[in-house]
């Protein structure tokens, strides 16, 4: 029986290969202004995905 279901995710290890373009938003700019989180930011480099 299926006991483990793997959810589709971006592989962070693979993202090391061609990431780091720096085009993405700064951390709390344009938003909350009082706490840092980067999980909710979008990758703006379509070539790296």
């Amino acid at each position: 029986m299926e006991r483990i279901k793997t959810i589709e995710t971006r592989n962070l290890c693979d993202s090391a290969k061609n990431g780091g373009c720096g085009e993405c938003q700064t951390s709390c700019q344009s938003a909350c202004k009082t706490s840092c989180g980067i999980a909710n930011q979008q990758c703006e480099n379509t070539e790296s995905k």
Partner: protein, 460 residues
Amino acid sequence: MIHQYKLGGYNIVLDVCSGAVHVVDEVAYDIIGMFETNSKEAIVKAMAEKYADRDDVTIPELEDCYDQVVALKESGKLFAPDNFESMAGHLKAKTAGVVKALCLHIAHTCNLNCEYCFASQGKYHGERAVMSFEVGKQALDFLIANSGTRRNLEVDFFGGEPLMNFEVVKQLVEYARSIEKQHNKNFRFTLTTNGLLIDDDVIDFANREMSNVVLSLDGRKEIHDRYRVDYAGNGSWDRIVPKFQRLVEARGGKDYYMRGTFTHANPDFLNDIKQMLDLGFNELSMEPVVCADGDPSQLTEEDLAVVMDQYEKLAELMLEKDKEGKPFTFYHYMIDLTGGPCIYKRISGCGSGTEYMAVTPWGDLYPCHQFVGEEKFKLGDIWQGVTNKETQAEFAACNVYAHPECKDCWARLYCSGGCAANAYHSTGSVTGVYEDGCKLFRKRMECAIMVAVARQLGNN
């Protein structure tokens, strides 16, 4: 490193370094929990004993499940090692000297007198002031000159209350639009406002020019009016809500955040979220108050327990609203498991003081809006650029591996080491850790991942 938790009826296993997320049954959950410190034989034996009363749990089946875990490990989706530390400074080094976002303190004054304001009613512990067009223009020129090849430039009109200097905001946007094409830039503007001065002119302008508007509303009227009062002590809820509704209705789907603050007065902030929904808003953010130790608005230990529960209930509410066909967004639960930031972004830390700076009404540069008014953090000004290289170097070095406490935290690739200002104000060091903030952040990430899992599995 893995993180296992149970939430919303799911047993979730997060593989920290690969970012893989697995939804498992309780048998696999236990097997994975024992995997690193026990042999296959010991695990199978322990599971056979624990689940002896279950017909579906057999020795061959347990061995098969164990082998699946081994396969996931071999494919890099479980127990992936953290090989990222050597890359931690890469992004900031590669983009050293590049500035891509400015927070323009267009008005160090405010028409509200909110006791909990981290900016001390917009004055940032200094004198009241507004930014002139000349200073703002120089700030935009500084940004363009220092933005390298970065095309999208973010500029936030912040305060105090920026609409108290609305004419200059309009002039600066007009100036930016007049020069962006020749420099191959695209300005993305944001306006953060308490709403009192919103009128048709503001609505037309904001909806035409602002990529995002951040509208301050604490939710329930009695909660909002507890802190968000004018200088005569009158609450502002009745005056601003109709204005926010008009602005959002006219926005035509462009981004906005209804942003509230919760304090000791409303750790049950889900009721404020519900109030926002009832008012017709569906892009929401509620932030824990940032204040000095001992401040009456400060969240207590008891409050934090309530807040943790509220976060879980908020996640449940989001999934319920999905089912009703009335989805809403919560800023901290926006997580894109299939996209999201690359590993460089995740480990390089907040861009404050390097790619992001705040500009005071008189043109001084600070690492971010939360450091404005703290003289030792002044980096320079918009005419000379960054002259306080020593302080900037502290921020440049402030990546996730600069915080010793983050080493063993499963959420480190989601917060990137946290907020430098919160760290400094709670520990005296930008490489410290604001532990109360971390506890809330970890809970938010657990909830966000659970919501994303439910949506991807189509169970919402």
